[in-house]
């Protein structure tokens, strides 16, 4: 699961000017025709760099995203929920595996990416820096955070890089299970006992602001990414994804008798656009730069898992083993 708000570096046009113009033209023509770029193809340095960055952030978000829901894995109520949550968190780990592999085809090893994650050099989706206080929080994540991720991932799966598209196609199929499972959980809480209902409403209240942040800052204040859009690296604008999410899910939240903690939230019937209170982008920046309620814990837990597993991975290594990048 992953939202927008990719942190792209502002692109330096000199990078592109230094590329071989003939190769660049062939590359751009291929994308223009709607053909995918495969790992063995020539590609501009900037394309490679930004793709690694984006896919890596996506992979990190999956592996870190396994933690807030994992908080409830031993406490899921009843067999149906227990099995589903185990499978759901497992899928997130599986998605990380797929995405790291896709990024590896561009020349950065998984170990290097994970190093950058736990050394704080690489970002992941901001939303996972918030705590899952109750079972209902995990239900909110399964339904709505994954719903948001699907909006973004479906757009990205139409991008230009073959291995990333293949990974995303697989991921989107699995996400449809997450979405249905999460919705099922929320329906049961919202239509259940007063206690369950209250639990669910409180989770919505807690998670709404992070959810609005999930798609990233408004396009008006984001770095310019025209060239990345032309190369089909960035596929949808943050604002479009946010609008699409609101359009699809706010009615589904309301129909369960739940309220959204934003009195300004409404659809403008004339423009067809949702209006809402501007999210607090200062808070977004603060949390993404490390000062959210769970940033430290998330990274520390990830590091601990790496350290505890290190003897196992060392034992699997042998001197004659040679790493090669995945083929596709």
């Amino acid at each position: 699961m992953y939202g927008g708000g990719n942190i792209f570096e502002p692109s330096n046009h000199n990078d592109v000017l230094n590329e071989d113009p003939v190769k660049l033209q062939e590359f751009e023509a291929r994308i223009e025709r709607g053909e995918k770029i495969e790992p063995s193809d020539w590609m501009p340095k900037l394309y490679r760099k930004q793709l690694i960055r984006m896919i890596e952030q996506h992979a990190h978000s999956e592996i870190i995203g396994a933690l807030p829901e994992g908080t409830w894995i031993t406490r899921a109520p009843g067999f149906k929920r227990k099995l589903a949550l185990m499978a759901k968190v497992q899928d997130e780990v599986g998605h990380a595996q797929l995405l790291y592999s896709a990024a590896e085809t561009l020349g950065k090893s998984r170990e290097d990416m994970i190093s950058d994650l736990i050394n704080g050099k690489s970002k992941y989706s901001n939303i996972f820096n918030y705590p899952a206080y109750t079972w209902a929080d995990s239900c909110f994540i399964s339904w709505l955070v994954d719903a948001g991720a699907i909006v973004n991932q479906v757009a990205n799966s139409k991008g230009s890089y073959g291995p990333y598209c293949r990974a995303l196609e697989r991921i989107c199929i699995e996400e449809s299970f997450h979405l249905k499972y999460g919705h099922h959980c929320v329906i049961h809480l919202a239509t259940g006992t007063p206690k369950q209902r209250q639990m669910m409403q409180e989770a919505v209240d807690r998670w709404w602001a992070p959810m609005m942040h999930f798609f990233g800052p408004s396009d008006k204040i984001s770095v310019h990414t025209e060239i990345l859009m032309k190369w089909k690296v960035k596929m949808a604008s943050n604002d479009d994804c946010r609008q699409q999410f609101l359009d699809m899910y706010v009615p589904k939240i309301w129909e369960l008798g739940l309220t959204v903690p934003d009195t300004n939230l409404k659809k403008n019937e004339e423009t067809g656009m949702w209006e809402f209170t501007e999210p607090d982008w200062e808070e977004f920046k603060r949390v993404i730069n490390g000062d959210g309620p769970c940033n430290e814990e998330r990274l520390a837990v990830r590091r601990m898992a790496e350290e505890r597993g290190q003897w196992v991975r060392n034992a699997l290594k042998s001197a004659d083993m040679k790493y090669v990048t995945p083929l596709a």
Binding site: G70, I73, T74, P77, G78, V89, Q90, Q97, A305
Partner: protein, 248 residues
């Protein structure tokens, strides 16, 4: 005879649930991504298997699976103590998985011929799942049971073995089950298990101690557990017990 069958089903179902629960604690925290996924799948298989056995019990008049699994206290559980121990480090979790799953594979093979058709059918269906679990355990034990990691594995093996012998604690209905061809009995299971694990261990540098010198840690089959089970159950049912009547 129904009581004997229920006793047999409870110990299997409880074993599967508790080990599945324990092993699920690694999900998202495993030593490498691929292994994290594989280990989680097996934990899901175990919990799914326990559900299938609780369903058989439900058919015999016991409460529904959720109530049985989430509302009983430790002294009502029939699992062996091996499965309730904390996950420890990965060496212990792997060794427990190896010792337990070899026993389980043989138990299911035996039950495939049970005179109780419902049990035989279920056992036959699950043999494939367990075959993979054993395959997984064997590959890992062979990989880590040599060289620099041998010592870690040996320690874990020695720690786990007395508990593993508790798997084979006989029930008070043992003779009834054997004479009615329902289950060939724990002693027969233990004998086959010992040769099965020995075959794998001889391909490693691990030493299997003389099992006759070990005192099995028993009691689990009669509701006598270590201090680890009740907290596990409290945690597992924390949300469920907020309102056991609610539909979650």
């Amino acid at each position: 005879m129904t009581e004997a069958i229920k006793d047999l089903l409870y110990k299997i179902a409880d074993d599967q649930l508790i080990i599945g629960h324990r092993n699920s604690e690694w999900t998202g925290l495993g030593p490498m991504l691929e292994e994290d996924i594989a280990f989680s799948s097996m934990a899901q298989d175990k919990v799914g298997q326990s559900l299938a056995f609780y369903n058989l019990l439900h058919d015999l008049g016991e409460s529904d699976p959720d109530t049985v699994a989430f509302m009983r206290n430790a002294n009502q559980f029939h699992n062996c103590q091996l499965v309730e121990l904390p996950i420890g480090e990965y060496d212990f979790s792997l060794v427990r998985h190896f010792l337990f799953d070899h026993a389980e594979m043989i138990r299911f093979e035996m039950l495939s011929n049970s005179a109780v058709e419902e049990i035989a059918q279920l056992a036959r269906k699950l043999v494939g799942e367990i075959r993979y679990h054993v395959m997984h355990a064997d590959v890992w034990i062979k990989q880590l049971g040599v060289g620099d990691t041998r010592e870690r594995l040996q320690k874990a093996l020695e720690m786990a073995l007395p508990y593993a012998l508790g798997i084979f604690e006989e029930s008070k209905y043992e003779q009834d089950l054997i004479s009615n061809d329902i289950f060939s009995g724990e002693q027969a299971l233990r004998d086959t298990w010992q040769s099965s694990i020995t075959t794998v261990l001889t391909e490693t540098e691990l030493q299997l101690p003389d099992l006759t010198t070990l005192t099995p840690l028993i009691g689990g089959r009669y509701g006598d557990h270590s201090d680890h089970l009740q907290p596990l159950l409290d945690e597992m049912s924390e949300v469920f017990k907020v309102d056991p009547g609610a539909d979650w």
